[in-house]
């Protein structure tokens, strides 16, 4: 048997076989292997809890696949609150006829991503829907993380005078996905930046307790994320176009397609807002990590123009950078 049948989701023998042959095979750990209706564990302290669903099309793309994305996305959402991710759940919605080989490939990739992020998959679910009622494979992941004492990282915490740091080049994930859509015939090798940021964040908060805001600029891109922060914190933000890191292939692809990298999704980048006097310390730590090598300051938080993000253009003029409107590219994550 090489494809998923409706009976794989019936809860009967085939379901059990699928769980045993694929999910337990790759995700095995003491909590999961109890096979109870819920994962049971003890923990202490302040917890962060998040959920996200992944419907990316195509499910395999340069730099990753839906499985890696699903783990990293949830790990990063926890990390952006300063939490150390510990456990995640995976829910699979599979389209009838999906290849078991590809499902196994995704499971293997989930295993690798969870090993890199050092999180355990402790519970899960599998459903199969009729052909045409889903597109190959959708994954939901939820995650739990522990927030260390003294850490207070929130979207409404940005203060005038703070510096705005970005951890690396922007737009890579969205353009990687776009370049894979079959109706585009785009011959670039731009890779998705999907990556777990938790280790870097751990290092960052160990070095600088005063980090005010952390956010991962996923859907809507950097521009939308900065707008969310400006609105939540009732501050202005000004960034410099010439400081924003964009790789040449992403910039060229954006020019060709009339897209703005500031609005393109990232899956392995973060924005940090920190007091000016902590910038050097923080950048030094970030640059020690693979996913923060190109970290740099791109702007500052201002008292003026509250709730508005201004972009200083290369020519030295200013323009308002609004949130993303419309949807340049559906199903990127």
């Amino acid at each position: 048997m090489n494809q998923i049948l409706l009976s794989h989701g019936s809860g009967g023998k085939l379901t059990h076989q699928l769980i045993k042959d694929i999910f337990i095979k790759y995700f095995d750990n003491p909590i999961l292997s109890q096979m109870n209706d819920s994962a049971v564990f003890s923990t202490s302290g302040k917890l962060a809890f998040t959920t996200d669903s992944y419907v990316v099309n195509p499910i395999f793309f340069p730099g990753g696949d839906i499985g890696k994305l699903a783990v990293n996305g949830t790990v990063n959402d926890l990390s952006m609150m300063g939490a150390k991710p510990i456990y995640i759940s995976t829910g699979f919605i599979i389209e009838e006829g999906f290849s078991i080989e590809e499902l196994e490939k995704v499971a293997r990739s989930i295993k690798e991503a969870s090993e890199e992020a050092e999180v355990e998959i402790v519970t899960g679910d599998t459903k199969v829907v009729e052909r045409g009622k889903a597109d190959k494979l959708f994954i939901n992941t939820s995650g739990i993380g522990i927030i260390p004492e003294e850490i207070d990282i929130r979207g409404d915490n940005a203060r005038p005078g703070d510096a705005v740091i970005v951890s690396g080049t922007i737009g890579d994930h969205g353009i990687a996905i776009l370049s894979q859509r079959k109706d585009l015939h785009f011959s670039t090798v731009i890779k998705s930046d999907t990556a777990p940021l938790n280790k870097m964040v751990e290092g960052m908060i160990r070095a600088v307790k005063e980090i005010h805001v952390l956010r991962d600029p996923t859907r809507g891109g950097l521009a939308t994320t900065l707008n969310e922060i400006a609105k939540a914190s009732s501050v202005g933000i000004e960034i410099s176009e010439s400081e924003i890191p964009v790789s040449a292939p992403v910039e060229n692809a954006c020019n060709l397609l009339g897209l703005d990298p500031l609005y393109i999704a990232n899956e392995g980048k973060l924005v940090a807002i920190v007091p000016r006097d902590k910038v050097e310390e923080l950048l030094e730590v970030m640059r020690k990590f693979l996913y923060g090598k190109e970290a740099k300051v791109i702007g500052e938080v201002t008292q003026g123009h509250p709730q508005t993000v201004l972009l200083r253009t290369r020519l030295g003029a200013h323009r308002i950078l609004d949130m993303l409107t419309g949807d340049p590219l559906p199903r990127i994550c």
């Binding site: 010439s242 009339g258 508005t308 253009t313 030295g316 200013h318």
Partner: protein
């Protein structure tokens, strides 16, 4: 040879200094192209020009000038059985009289976004049992590629590919705006991409008949500023000419290969423009020779005329008579997320540029 950086802040700064030095009179310049409007806002050029220079956006947005009736026709086509609509993304969100293509898609119509007519042709090849209709919107720049797709379909015997042609020609629109005389202009920034196809000599009637200088310009910061500088200089020195600063792309007589493609497949017809009304010989219809690919012939539908949305002033924005800020709907009920008129939807639309780049702060 090192490639010139057309967005170089240093070169831009030098040109800006020259503009400030030369420009004394109040100067109204219309940029014909929506892409010029968007670039100008993106680079923040408005803030850097002297206050006596007023940049006015023109009608150069193909989706914006598409008549409401055509939008309704496209939506009606999408509800026909076994039809796939292939379209540029901009068209999907344009509100028709009753709904948009986006809403038609949610209702079950099969609508695919493509980046070229050749992609649409490929969809037809992959779906031999469906009828694939490409929504042909665009100026002289888009028409040759659409013509090529029809020739290709003919050559390969693809019988399920159709084009709904709404292609329009830019010189008649320029003429219409100048004939209306609603806006007093001292210079026109001519369309760069269109001129690569039709040649800069196509604009010689403007200085000759209307006594207004034209500069055909590219779309980077240096291109736009250089265009403005030469227009300012011509106006200050009372010179009436067409200048071409987009020499890396535009030739005097254009691209004969592209022009021949248009000529092979299309012929001129009178057509209706949003904002400008019916303009003689300003549209492109598919010639009889290729009529089996013409969606208007293959799928004749009776689409009633409907009044424009209440309060929407896209018409006047298209003609450069008002700026978006003067429309009561701008940013109050009309936004890119919920557009009332096409100028707010298209990536070349004036209202969308004002909205996205904070021109309407």
């Amino acid at each position: 040879m090192e490639r010139l950086n057309y967005n170089s802040p240093e070169i831009a700064k030098k040109i800006l200094d020259e503009i400030h030095l030369y420009s004394h009179k109040d100067t109204a310049i219309m940029e014909f192209c929506g892409t010029h409007t968007h670039s100008r806002f993106k680079f923040g050029i408005k803030e850097l020009l002297p206050k006596n220079i007023n940049m006015i956006s023109g009608p150069g947005c193909p989706v914006c000038v598409t008549d409401n009736k055509d939008i309704d026709y496209c939506i009606a086509l999408s509800s026909l059985p076994d039809v796939i609509i292939a379209t540029f993304g901009d068209m999907v969100r344009v509100p028709g009289s009753y709904k948009s293509l986006q809403e038609a898609k949610a209702d079950g119509s099969d609508i695919k976004i493509v980046y070229s007519s050749i992609d649409a042709l490929n969809i037809a090849k992959e779906n031999p049992y469906k009828k694939v209709i490409f929504l042909g919107v665009g100026f002289e720049t888009t028409a040759p590629t659409v013509a090529a797709s029809i020739i290709e379909a003919e050559k390969n015997g693809i019988n399920n590919y159709f084009v709904y042609s709404m292609h329009k020609l830019t010189p008649p629109a320029m003429k219409a705006i100048l004939d209306l005389g609603e806006v007093n202009l001292n210079g026109i920034l001519g369309p760069g991409h269109v001129s690569t196809v039709i040649g800069w000599k196509s604009w010689e009637f403007v200085p000759l008949e209307y006594k207004i200088p034209v500069v055909v310009a590219g779309f980077d910061a240096v291109d736009i500023l250089l265009g403005v500088f030469i227009l300012v200089k011509m106006y200050e020195d009372n010179k009436l000419e067409v200048a071409n600063t987009y020499i890396r792309a535009v030739k005097p007589f254009g691209n004969s290969y592209a022009l021949n493609l248009i000529d092979e497949v299309f012929e001129k017809e009178d057509t209706s423009w949003r904002g400008l009304g019916e303009l003689p010989q300003s549209g492109l219809k598919i010639k009889d020779k290729y009529k089996r690919f013409d969606a208007k012939v293959r799928f004749p539908l009776d689409v009633p005329s409907t009044p424009k949305p209440k309060g929407c002033r896209c018409d006047e924005v298209i003609r450069g008579v008002i700026a978006p800020l003067e429309c009561p709907l701008f940013k109050t009920v009309c936004s890119p997320a919920q557009p009332i008129g096409p100028c707010m939807v298209s990536s070349e639309g004036t209202c969308s540029a004002y909205y996205l780049y904070g021109g309407g702060r």
